[in-house]
């Protein structure tokens, strides 16, 4: 077409355009993407509610919208799974951008349930003392007011609350749901940003200790941006290697996986400019680094303790549980779908990462004096145990990691929910010395926390044990016996500090000026109860969930 014709076509109507010049419209399977669309749509409705509803009614409206949206998304996931999209009808949707398969649906379901429980803890308004006649939650009265300034006083006196946390939560959930399902590197990157940005904001919104919370958010943001840059650079290099960002494809329209295993049917021109192994190795390593950052594996773990400590505790619980689920999902898909041909290159490295993560997470935790930091290091150690399952490169490796993620995340949510209950005049009393003698003052809360700690420690008949057994078993069957032995030793070290907390709670004298245990509303109570139930059910009768994870453990290519 000549230049004049182009200009002409701009001025004439669409009907005049020859059919050959039509840009083909992408084919998008809305039904199969409905869980994500529902969550993001609900988040948008939440923003509108925030804009148009009067301040008084926003809290209940937001809570209702969030719960309904998440429940609808979960129902959609179940419907998809029931239709066989997890197994026989698993395929790649949205022009190769998003996979609809077992692991994706399983992890999306897990994330939605985590978000539902987290929404309960977000909505808790009985714990903080009533401020000027208004019940308040864990979030800042006005995020933009300078801490300690007159504006802040005014906001607190007026009883403001940041109900925007609910839409932010939903946006983060939407991103997290795409993350493990992403089937090309750009979708991966976009979804990473979609869930990271709301999390940075949520971290900064604590009602108490606001400076610490803002510092945590800045640290998280800076290090997160750094890791995003790594990821993006890695994506660019992988594109340079393969000439595509798609994970998989066909012989004629190859994905990265086809280029790696040599089954791609490349034109000579393309074949000349692709296939540079240096680009593949460096690019792959950088993408994995970006994901390991989100997972919190050593040596990319430095942000974890500070952020977990500074963020509002409900956000910490959500972040610790859901981010890990999403990031491990993405890591599994990348390693199992794109890079299985490279496993002789990445497995030794991941061995090393798993070992240092388990060992450093467990050893450094021993010296912690703050319960939130302690749980942060414990989450690092758990990331190490999970990596042991990732390394197996077998179906049982995938299903064991999926199972472990479920077991770990609900226990974590429950654990952080208990942390919100123990309070003194300054808000939550997170220093461990304050927890001394808690077992005397409120045996039930201490006993529940002890159950969570025992599960973290992997004592039999708890979910933590079943999960640990599953991943170690998968690793041992894949021949990683030394890894299992180191994992077991790390568990023993880790058990030491969990036990130490139990000792403090039950066998130490309570301090005279110790904290009080707030009576929560049914919201937090149910979050904790769900944690306990999951701990016991997955500990005593895990078979149903192992079956589920086993059935969901096959990636679509």
């Amino acid at each position: 077409m000549s230049a004049t014709a182009v200009v002409h076509s701009l001025l004439t109507s669409a009907a005049a355009t020859p059919a050959a010049d039509r840009i083909p419209t992408p084919h998008i399977e809305y039904a199969q993407l409905s869980p994500v669309l529902i969550v993001l749509g609900t988040a948008t409705v939440g923003v509108l509610a925030e804009a148009f509803l009067p301040r008084r009614s926003r809290y209940w409206a937001q809570l209702g919208i969030t719960v309904v949206g998440l429940a609808a998304a979960f129902a959609a996931i179940i419907a998809l799974a029931a239709d066989g999209y997890a197994t026989t009808r698993a395929h790649i949707a949205a022009m190769g951008a998003v996979a609809v398969d077992g692991p994706a649906l399983f992890l999306q379901g897990t994330i939605v349930l985590i978000a539902l429980v987290a929404a309960f803890t977000f909505a808790e308004r009985r714990l903080d003392p009533v401020a000027h006649g208004n019940r308040v939650d864990s979030f800042a009265a006005q995020g933009s007011a300078v801490p300690g300034s007159p504006q802040e006083m005014k906001a607190v006196r007026a009883g403001f609350t940041t109900t925007e946390v609910f839409p932010l939560l939903l946006f983060a959930v939407g991103g997290m749901m795409i993350f493990p399902a992403a089937n090309d590197l750009l979708t991966l990157f976009v979804s990473l940003e979609v869930f990271s940005l709301p999390l940075y904001l949520l971290c900064a919104l604590a009602r108490r200790r606001r400076l610490m919370s803002q510092e945590a958010a800045v640290k998280y943001f800076l290090l997160g941006a750094f890791s995003s840059a790594f990821l993006l650079f890695g994506i660019a290099l992988l594109y340079g290697y393969a000439g595509t960002v798609a994970y998989t494809g066909t012989a004629t329209a190859p994905g990265i996986a086809q280029v790696i295993d040599g089954s791609a049917n490349l034109t000579p021109a393309l074949a000349n400019s692709t296939g540079n192994d240096a680009l593949l190795l460096i690019g792959g390593a950088m993408v994995i680094m970006g994901l390991l950052f989100k997972v919190g594996a050593v040596p990319f773990h430095q942000w974890t303790p500070d952020v977990y400590q500074g963020a509002p505790t409900p956000v910490t619980g959500f972040m610790a549980a859901a981010t890990k689920v999403a990031a491990f999902g993405a890591l599994l898909r990348l390693l199992y779908v794109v890079l299985p041909g490279m496993r002789w290159d990445w497995r030794p490295v991941m061995w090393g990462v798993a070992i240092v993560t388990m060992v450093i997470g467990a050893i450094v935790a021993v010296t912690q004096t703050d319960v939130k930091r302690l749980l942060a290091y414990s989450s690092i150690a758990h990331a190490g145990f999970l990596l042991a399952g990732v390394i197996a490169v077998s179906p049982s490796g995938v299903s064991s990691v999926l199972f472990y993620l479920v077991a770990y995340s609900f226990v974590t949510l429950g654990g952080f929910a208990v942390v919100t209950l123990v309070r003194d005049a300054g808000g939550e009393a997170t220093h461990l010395s304050k927890w001394a003698g808690l077992g005397r003052r409120s045996p039930l809360v201490a006993a529940v926390f002890a159950v969570f700690l025992l599960s973290f420690a992997g004592i039999p008949l708890t979910a933590g044990f079943a999960g640990k057994f599953a991943v170690f078993q998968a690793a041992a069957q894949a021949g990683a016996v030394p890894l299992v032995v180191i994992g077991v030793i790390a568990s023993a070290i880790a058990a030491f500090f969990y036990i130490r907390v139990i000792v403090m709670m039950f066998f130490s004298e309570p301090q005279p000026d110790g904290p009080t245990v707030a009576i929560p509303s049914p919201l937090t109570s149910s979050a904790i109860a769900i944690g306990v139930v999951v701990t016991l059910v997955l500990g005593v009768a895990p078979q149903y969930f192992l079956d589920l994870a086993g059935k969901a453990g096959v990636f679509v290519r």
Binding site: S399, A476, V488, V503, L546, D547
Partner: protein, 542 residues
């Protein structure tokens, strides 16, 4: 077999478990109700254990009253129960001892009177619920024939034990103004030490359990933990352990059991735990929970890994003998009554382990019998010692003297318990100790002779203890000491009666034990070596 069979073993383990929950649910203020409820459940368990014993026919199948259900298919785990003769007697021992432990500890969890009442938090219902929980877990670990099922309860047992040790000590260790605080600190230390030692042992066993799964999964197609199935597969030749993997997995298992048993040099948690715990809890540790360790050596180490067991026997036997002598020597030097008994127990566990790994029928029968007899004799001695300590408010031997003048019955029962501990002929432990020694002589004469020295030392520490505490002039603080009350007599008298009965007539027990021991030995492909000594041993056993 068709139709519904009554799950007797499950019920036997479930009754104390339900009892634990029920007792824990009793309101904290109703202390007496909680006690009676717990006692009732423990007696019911005893009745069930008696039924199990009655239904067990010694000449019958190897594992009887079996139950088998799928549990966690992905891990190859089945809910499989079954008892052999060894398990039956140990279940019976547990069920017999727990009611006495409860009776003896009737007031151990009452609120303390003193200058600062209610300072220490002692929920009565918690104490009794924890005892029942331990009983349930011990019983099911004796019943399990699935390695994984066993492992779960072997580990989970630590949690209630830990709270029993750390939460309910007696107030008798330290003196001075901050005595209570010092006691609390020591008790916490002991509880944590107990937990960490056993947890590390358990986690190393976990690695071995996973290794076992990996081997069975590779060779049988599907991994399994079922003991009978593994034994069958190996007999068919479908399953074969390579020498190195068998040895590593064996070591993983053995390490956990050796910590629990405890075998020198992994024993150091026991004196702390037994000293700081109240006497009834100490009985629970040494007479009940530790037996799981020695029992598991017999059932799992020998049956699953016969070659590795034979390979390790010389080292283990030497360690056991060191334990016998070391425990006895340290017992001689103790100044604390409970510590002394703890070291004596370490010495006795040396005998049990020596008997197991001597791999002769007399030695293993003796070792199994020893588990029972040691349980009863230590319980008798420790519980009486507990009564003594509560009366005086001190554990130090130097604080006692001339007790037999003011409390003759107490002194008398203490003497009988002590004599049982030093294996006086006519009392139950003698038979078992003799069998172990005879069985060991036939294979390891030198070790047998060395172990005999342990008996001499036992006489020394028991008699010196008695002499220092019971005889001589009445010391200050002893004058007004009351003799045993009815409740305390109810605890001690049956135990002493049992000691006397089994001392002269051990046949009911040996009849049940012997077939199981024979099966175990045939698994290890060991036969008794020296016929001329065999004859002597048979004489004694009859």
């Amino acid at each position: 077999m068709s139709g519904f069979t009554f799950p007797l073993l499950t019920v036997t383990a479930a009754v104390p478990a339900i009892g634990a929950i029920a007792t824990a649910a009793v309101p904290a203020a109703r202390r007496t109700a909680a006690k009676w409820l717990a006692l009732a459940f423990s007696v019911a368990t005893l009745a069930l254990a008696a039924v199990v014993t009655g239904r067990f026919s010694p000449g019958g199948a190897r594992y009887q009253l079996t139950e088998s259900h799928a549990w966690i298919r992905d891990f190859g785990v089945r809910y499989e129960l079954g008892v052999d003769g060894i398990a039956v007697v140990l279940i019976l021992l547990t069920a017999v001892l727990v009611p006495f432990v409860m009776l003896a500890g009737w007031h151990d969890a009452d609120p303390l009177e003193g200058p600062v009442p209610n300072r220490r938090w002692r929920p009565t219902n918690g104490f009794f619920a924890l005892i029942l929980a331990v009983e349930a877990m011990v019983v099911i670990s004796f019943e399990a024939t699935d390695v994984f099922l066993f492992y779960i309860f072997f580990e989970a047992m630590l949690v209630p034990m830990y709270f029993l040790i750390g939460g309910f000590g007696d107030r008798a260790g330290a003196t001075g103004d901050d005595a209570e605080e010092q006691d609390a600190r020591q008790r916490t230390y002991a509880a944590v030490k107990f937990l960490l030692y056993n947890l590390v042992g358990g986690l190393i066993m976990l690695a071995a359990v996973i290794g076992l799964y990996a081997v069975t999964a590779r060779q049988l197609g599907t991994g399994t933990f079922s003991l009978p199935e593994i034994l069958r597969a190996r007999a068919d030749g479908r399953l074969h352990f390579s020498t190195s993997s068998e040895r590593w997995i064996f070591l993983g298992f053995f390490f956990a059991f050796a910590v629990k048993a405890p075998l020198w040099p992994l024993h150091t948690w026991l004196p702390n735990a037994m000293t700081e715990a109240t006497a009834p809890v100490a009985v629970l540790i040494t007479a009940v929970v530790d037996k799981v360790g020695t029992f598991a050596m017999l059932r799992y180490c020998l049956q699953l890994f016969p070659e590795a067991s034979k390979w390790a026997t010389p080292v283990i036997a030497v360690l056991a003998v060191i334990g016998i002598l070391y425990g006895a020597l340290l017992a001689v030097g103790q100044r604390d009554i409970k510590r002394l008994i703890a070291y004596a127990s370490i010495s006795h566990f040396g005998f049990i382990i020596l008997g197991i790994f001597a791999m002769t029928s007399q030695a293993q029968s003796g070792a199994t019998l020893y588990m029972v007899n040691h349980g009863i004799s230590t319980a008798a001695l420790l519980l009486v010692a507990g009564f003594l300590i509560t009366r005086r408010g001190s554990r130090r031997i130097a604080d006692f003297g001339g007790v037999q003048k003011v409390a003759p019955v107490l002194a008398g029962t203490f003497l009988i318990g002590g004599l049982a501990t030093l294996s006086l002929p006519g009392l139950a432990p003698f038979v078992s100790e003799f069998l172990v020694l005879v069985g060991t002589f036939t294979r390891y004469p030198v070790l047998g002779i060395l172990a005999t020295v342990g008996i001499v030392l036992a006489a020394l520490y028991v008699l010196v203890l008695y002499q220092r505490t019971m005889t001589g002039p009445v010391k200050a603080g002893i004058e007004g000491m009351k003799d045993l009350k009815v409740r305390e007599l109810l605890v001690v008298a049956p135990l002493i009666a049992l000691l006397l009965f089994l001392g002269v007539y051990p046949k009911p027990l040996t009849d049940v034990i012997n077939p199981a021991v024979k099966d175990t030995l045939s698994d290890v492909h060991r036969t008794d070596p020296a016929p001329q000594i065999n004859a002597v041993a048979k004489e004694t056993a009859k």
